[in-house]
């Protein structure tokens, strides 16, 4: 029987990892992720979870332990936030380049300096080019479901998956969610079976030095080198979107939840305007959109982006063809440019015939309060904006919630 409970987002993630039967957990404390791995260490110490807990001395080593375990054929897990994720950065590239299936929860938090322990998305956004699949949960139920699906995705496509959820907004708040039964999860997520494990019976040298050009192996068969290996990663990462949809369909059949694994629309059917966002703020926007529809008669919807890497270029461009205006609201940016999601979305639209007017909003950095009233006003203004603005004005990110 599945179980309904009310607990924190971090506890939800921990219980999902327990259900996923991860066997090697390595982690280093960092706010706001810490309660997740505390919970896992409690479960293991109490004998409720059968796994090795390695209390490492840094995040760099946390991912190193996962790299070692995954390469040796065992399902690992780690979690981090903010500067911890950045300290792992080299290892992120390594895990992806080594095609190691693994899952990591990133409890999103701003990056120092100056220090901030509060939520934004700059940590994950800054690591978008590491070769990891990045998915974003909006609520506690999605943390559970996405984590379980992420393990299966990682192990099917041999690419590591980062499950992102918002620090404090989700990690420390209590919400109801349903936990599936362990036996059903086992049926959904079979044992880890990695084809290139380290084994004395079949010795292989993994991640060997490559030369710029393809070379023959000892049997005279030409083997691709770095560029070919990296091309494979890119191609298979793009295909991972289809695999993610298939996994979601299977999950939905088994557990009754799902159906919007990449783009999750709300009130979009008749909408002229749409706000695109990732994570918990996409749910906050549902309230804003309800109010704009009710009070102002504006036909507006929300499109939550659940998967940021691989970027669903065609899916999002096609989904946006019918809108007059698109507001991209994000909690991070590429400094000196624009919001990273906005820039990605804009480039996705370029080859398509319809290019709706775009707006970019930056908000909530370092935990700055995101007031629903402010979002309401920003969206309303954008919807009602006349066509006299210059391209530069239109294309410049607007910051919501600045206090100076």
């Amino acid at each position: 029987m599945s179980k309904k409970l009310i607990d924190s987002g971090n506890a939800a993630a921990a219980m999902a990892v327990q259900l996923a039967a991860a066997e090697v957990i390595a982690a280093y404390p960092i706010t706001p992720q810490t309660p997740l791995t505390e919970k896992l260490s409690e479960l293991i110490a109490a004998g409720e979870m059968d796994a090795e807990y390695v209390a490492v001395e840094s995040e760099h080593s946390a991912l190193a332990v996962c790299i070692g375990a995954a390469s040796a054929g065992v399902r690992p897990f780690t979690a981090t936030s903010s500067n911890g994720l950045l300290y792992m950065s080299e290892q992120l590239h390594w895990a992806a380049g080594g095609r190691l299936p693994m899952v990591m929860c990133v409890v999103n938090r701003g990056i120092g300096a100056p220090w901030s322990v509060w939520n934004d998305h700059q940590d994950a956004i800054s690591q978008r080019d590491t070769g990891w699949i990045q998915i974003f949960a909006k609520d506690h139920q999605e943390i559970v479901d996405m984590t379980l699906k992420a393990f299966r995705l990682a192990e099917l496509v041999h690419i590591p998956v980062m499950v992102n959820y918002d620090g404090y907004y989700l990690s420390h708040t209590y919400m109801p969610f349903e936990l599936p039964e362990a036996a059903e999860v086992r049926a959904f997520l079979p044992d880890y079976d990695y084809k290139h494990t380290l084994s004395p019976e079949h010795p292989e040298s993994l991640n060997t030095v490559t030369l710029p050009d393809a070379r023959n192996d000892i049997n005279g068969v030409k083997q691709g080198s770095y560029m070919d290996i990296r091309h494979n990663l890119h191609q298979e990462m793009c295909l991972a979107m289809d695999v993610w949809e298939e996994i979601d369909a299977d999950f939905q059949q088994r557990f009754g939840r799902g159906g919007a694994p990449i783009l999750d629309p709300y009130c979009c059917d008749d909408a002229e305007f749409v706000v695109v966002a990732m994570g918990s703020i996409a749910n906050q926007f549902r309230d804003v959109v309800d109010r704009l529809r009710q009070d102002d008669g504006l036909k507006i919807g929300v499109l939550a982006l659940q998967m940021y890497r691989p970027f669903p270029i065609a899916r999002i461009a096609e989904a946006l063809q019918s809108f007059k205006g698109v507001m991209v609201c994000e909690k991070g940016l590429s400094y000196g440019n624009q919001g990273a999601l906005y820039a990605d979305l804009k480039s996705a639209l370029y080859p398509y015939p319809a290019r709706p007017r775009l707006h970019n909003f930056i908000t909530g950095l370092g935990g700055r309060e995101i007031r629903t009233d402010d979002l309401y006003l920003a969206l309303k203004t954008a919807c009602l904006q006349d066509d006299l603005t210059t391209p530069v004005q239109n294309d410049t990110p607007q910051w919501i919630g600045l206090q100076l």
Partner: protein, 302 residues
Amino acid sequence: MTNMTKTNVINLTDEEFIYPGNRACSGCGLSILYRIGLKALGRDCIFVVPPSCLTVMQGLYPIAATQMPILNGTFASTAAIATGVRAAMKRLGKKTQVVAWAGDGGTSDIGIQALSGALERNEDIIYICYDNEAYMNTGVQRSGTTPQGGLTTTTPYGKKETSKNVPDIVAAHNPAYIATCSASYPLDFHDKLIKAKEISGLKYIHIQTPCPPGWGCDERMTVKIGKMAIECGLFDLYEIEEGKKKLSEPSAKLLKKSKLRPVQDYLNMQTRFKALSKEQIAAMQERIDQKWEGYREEFAAK
């Protein structure tokens, strides 16, 4: 383990674990160690290797000079990756020995945090540091173990600082086993690995590894230089078990001598020490003499 048969050329296995032909420089001390070390470790091993001469020596994709399973990893994380492999072996119920094999830069500088963590957790791995006393793979830059006065490409007038004593740093963590070795005494290394395999917890082996291109000597001098480092009392072979230090035979026999060979004999064999002044050499000699005075008191009493 005390009545263990010593390895000699007669009882050393004929089985080879590396293929003929690899990418080591001629006269490489590491290639001696690797060949003999694998004979001691046997087939049931997994290696974790950071960027180092060993990475290159083992072959370039898709060809390998080794017959062992190797996980190449990032520079700073050797001991942590080995921890992960060890944890996986535990989950799989396998006794497979996990061996981390890194250079001096990968151990004493960039890898020391991960090593310290693994030591503190007393991970059941063998950690081998082959110490050629500089970043040789990148073309001879100073490392934490480059000796004072040593010329490297980043210490063009000689290194000002003294070197880190890595075995002492490791000893401060009280691991299960520490041994120092020399590429010039590969059978001693073989013996110590055989012993290490039987001990649970972290086993640390530090090997002085002469490097002809980096040290400035003829390729044929590798073994002679390593022997000279020991005979003049500069580098000592020992083991530390349960906190007790014991000199190994090549160093222990020097206890009987009232005077060791002058360190000058060792320094003269290499161009990297040509910037040392007479005063610096005298100071070095004095430090060696003091150390051995201490050894004579410490070990003679027992």
